[in-house]
Amino acid sequence: MSSIDIHAHSSDAHGHHDEHEHHEQSFIQKYVFSEDHKVIAKQFLISGLFWALIGGSLSAIFRLQLGFPNANIEWLKPLLGEWIQNGKLDPEFYLALVTMHGTIMVFFVLTAGLSGTFSNFLIPLQIGARDMASGFLNMLSYWFFFLSSCLMFISLFIETGPASGGWVIYPPLSALPQAMPGSGLGMTLWLSSMAIFIVSSLLGSINYISTVINMRTKGMTFSRLPLTIWSFFLTAIIGVLSFPVLLSAALLLIFDRSFGTSFYLSEIYVAGQALHNVGGSPILFQHLFWFLGHPEVYIVLLPALGITSEIISTNSRKPIFGYKAMIFSMLGITFLSFIVWAHHMFVTGMNPFLGSVFMLLTLIIAVPSAVKAFNYITTLWKGNLVFTPAMLFSIGLVSFFISGGVTGIILGNAALDIQLHDTYFVVAHFHLVMGSASFFGFLAGVYHWFPKMFGRMMDEKLGYIHFWFSFIGIYLVFFPMHYIGIAGFPRRYYSFTSYEAFSTFGDLNSFISIAAFFALGAQLIFGFNFFYSIFKGRKASENPWRSNTLEWTTPVLPGHGNWPGEIPQVYRWPYDYSKPGASEDFIPQHIPYAATPESNLPFESDNA
């Protein structure tokens, strides 16, 4: 019904739109405080890439320490200053590095960079809307994110160092500046930055949800939505329901830190002093944190899976296998993602019965995930596969999703988690299934929609090299971590030399570091390709991948309002690839059944 409403005044919108053409926007309106979803998407994209560079560089520094604990790194002194003492990395700064690497990658790259870019860019273009429901809120969403980025960035440079208690910032460590210097000003900045980040995320999510519900073009029913939009829609719902809980957790922590409350603190004697706090519970924080923290995994993963569905289908020249099953799996994952959080807490002293319940729920979530993986593979079966760089990264994502996902079956089993909790096995698991898979989804999306963003093509050969270096490099980094984890090595250790049990595997750690430098270096190829192609890339055509979705019916570089004429109407689902009888191997969504009598299935007609 709503879609009809929109269509009714979409001709009005068209009228407005022509006026816009004549009205010149100032530079600031157009590129800085822009309300155009495409510009905001590019702002998120560039910011995300910037943060990825920072987050990646931090990991290079701590991999240097882990791989070569005896090396003299005095040469980093111009960059790190006092954090290098006698040619060695300061142990507290090491913790700051892993903390900031996690925070940046999870929130600033894979949440803001991924959802921010592609939800903004694709939702209006793929559902057939002129822009987001509220362009103004959308602009605010980016600038709140920018402000939050500034605070987080500044915290890297302060004297006491950025937050260093791990990206999960468990109190009491994060609440007590006496316990570690990073819990002083660095933590204050972290909490302020995250509070603002959550505001940004909520503004964005509310906008995505209302746009998808209200602004679909005529004929774009929910059962004709591309899977990308389904994934962005569900991601936004998860975000709206879970991020406020993190905000409340952060606020209570701010109270404990600054106003003497005892939500998380009890019976503490630190730095030669007994504190007054009694009655609080550090476990409460963990429950609140993971109530966001686990859905957060799906906030970063679902958009990547949506992007992959679209790209694999397009480049297999075949409909995505099990469209409905894909939607139901995502719905299942969305629902279940809220009731599995405590599997991060099996050994925190939580009631063991709760552990049993969460073990059961956690392993249930493996079922819809498995269905998705099988559906991707079946989509390849009997396809006609075109290996664009985007397609390569999507296949890479499926591989990471499987190899990282299966180890979740071990970690989700409370009895097995006892030994593996907080070891490198966990590091390997989530870097593959969530980190690398989502990052590959992000890269796949950039390669695939670059022509629509910038009107030019990225270089394919460089894309291939980038893919193979990254794919192999990432496996060489994270696969060996399983071995180290099985051998019991704990996470967040500055060095392993003080333990006999962890004195092995020195060579393997050096190997991982070298592989990490290699994989990180390969990203420079992407950086070059990206910026070079913006200016000098080959000119793109309107629909270079011969794809079905609506964004490819816009001009090469869609202007303000996306379609110069009327918004196209939608007549079919987005996956009519290689339909028997059709002359081409794709039929875009805006082609009526009346125009394709030769390929229509018995039940397909425009009246249906």
Partner: protein
């Protein structure tokens, strides 16, 4: 000068790479590669998937055999033997899933690579197939959950009554251990009574504290259940005994516990590992600050008779620190289970209490450097 040369050569390499890239682009334009739907690269990419996979698998098989010797030896606790078995069974199950999916996927990339004379098969769904691969993983998972649940319930069940009880306390950055002494009861504590000597904050108005002792290493008897009562006094820590497959967080204000039964003595493990210096170690696995990586503590598993001998040599903490006898209320002094030395009046009891206020920053650094 050196760094200038390095910079220059890096620049040169980059310029050469850029030129190769440009030449390659121009050749593609001349050849008209961009006009075609796919180029030769499509085949290269298609074949690289299985080639990478086969090489990767070869590496995996070779290294897995190699890495075995670095793994921890067989579990030294009874429950650990069971969970280890379940772990390896699960590894085989998921390896099978990994292999099947990847073999299919990378077979498809070659088999169905683009061919302009062929059309992809329009195959939007197959409910039987989808039903099958929903049900099969569900059944396999149910079996794994069943075993996991059974073991988890056994491991977390209440400790046997006759278990040896030991208190383990984490602090920045060391573990402290307290035994109940002859009465078998660990005395009460209060965090407000903690000082530089009385690290546990033992409350001497509780007579159960009089015989508690604080050793330098944990000793436990082989074959008897051991119950660890775990707490922390400043930030979160986590007790990790890798050889026993034991892990439990230490939480300030919320005591936790974990019980297990050691199967091999330290001497046994020396034989099993062939390492004459073998020691059981206790590690911290919850980030706790600067010294997180260096909270090593030694645990020794004795034969039961050796354990009894060791117990007999341990002196109550109160006996070692007679200054604190003044904290014992007069009415309870008669209950102190050892001979009281003549009272030393010249040293006031709390001369060691209340450390001088040191700026907190430097204090934690001093502790860390220990």
């Amino acid at each position: 000068m050196n760094s200038f040369l390095i910079g220059l050569s890096v620049l040169l390499v980059l310029v050469i790479l850029f030129l190769i890239f440009r030449v390659q682009t121009l050749i593609s334009v001349m050849k008209g590669t961009y006009q075609k739907r796919v180029s030769f690269s499509n085949n290269v990419n298609a074949f690289l998937f299985p080639i990478t996979f086969v090489l990767g698998m070869a590496l995996l098989v070779w290294y897995s055999a190699e890495a075995k010797k670095f793994y921890l030896p067989e579990s030294a606790s009874l429950h650990g033997v069971k969970t280890d078995n379940l772990f390896w069974i699960t590894i085989y199950v998921i390896s099978f899933a990994f292999l099947v999916t990847h073999v299919l996927m990378f077979y498809f990339t070659v088999k169905y690579k683009y061919d302009e004379n062929r059309k992809a098969t329009f195959y939007p769904d197959n409910h039987k197939l989808e039903f099958a691969w929903t049900i099969v993983p569900a059944i396999v998972l149910t079996v794994l959950i069943f075993f996991g649940y059974t073991y988890w319930s056994q491991i977390t069940s209440p400790a046997p009554k006759d278990a040896v009880v030991i208190e383990v306390m984490g602090k920045q950055f060391a573990w402290q251990v307290r035994y109940p002494g002859k009465d078998g009861v660990i005395g009460k504590y209060n965090f407000k009574l903690i000082d530089a000597t009385n690290e546990f904050g033992m409350d001497f108005t509780d007579k159960n504290n009089f015989d508690d002792f604080v050793p330098r290493e944990i000793h436990i008897p082989k074959g008897s259940p051991v119950l660890l009562k775990i707490r922390a006094r400043d930030v979160l820590h986590s007790v990790f005994l890798p050889h026993f497959r034991v892990k439990m967080d230490a939480v300030p204000g919320m005591p936790t516990q974990f019980w297990f039964t050691p199967k091999y003595s330290t001497a046994d493990m020396k034989e099993i590992t062939g390492n004459p210096d073998f020691k059981y170690e206790l590690a911290c696995t919850e980030i706790c600050g600067r010294g997180h990586y260096a909270m090593r503590y030694i645990l020794v598993v004795d034969e039961p008779e050796d354990y009894q001998k060791w117990l007999a040599t341990q002196e109550p903490w109160l006996k070692v620190n007679p200054d604190y006898i003044s904290k014992v209320p007069e009415r309870l002094r008669s209950l102190i289970p050892f001979e009281l030395a003549p009272a030393k009046t010249e040293t006031p009891a709390d001369s060691t209490a209340k450390p001088v206020a040191v700026p907190t920053d430097s204090l934690s650094k001093v502790q860390a450097s220990l």
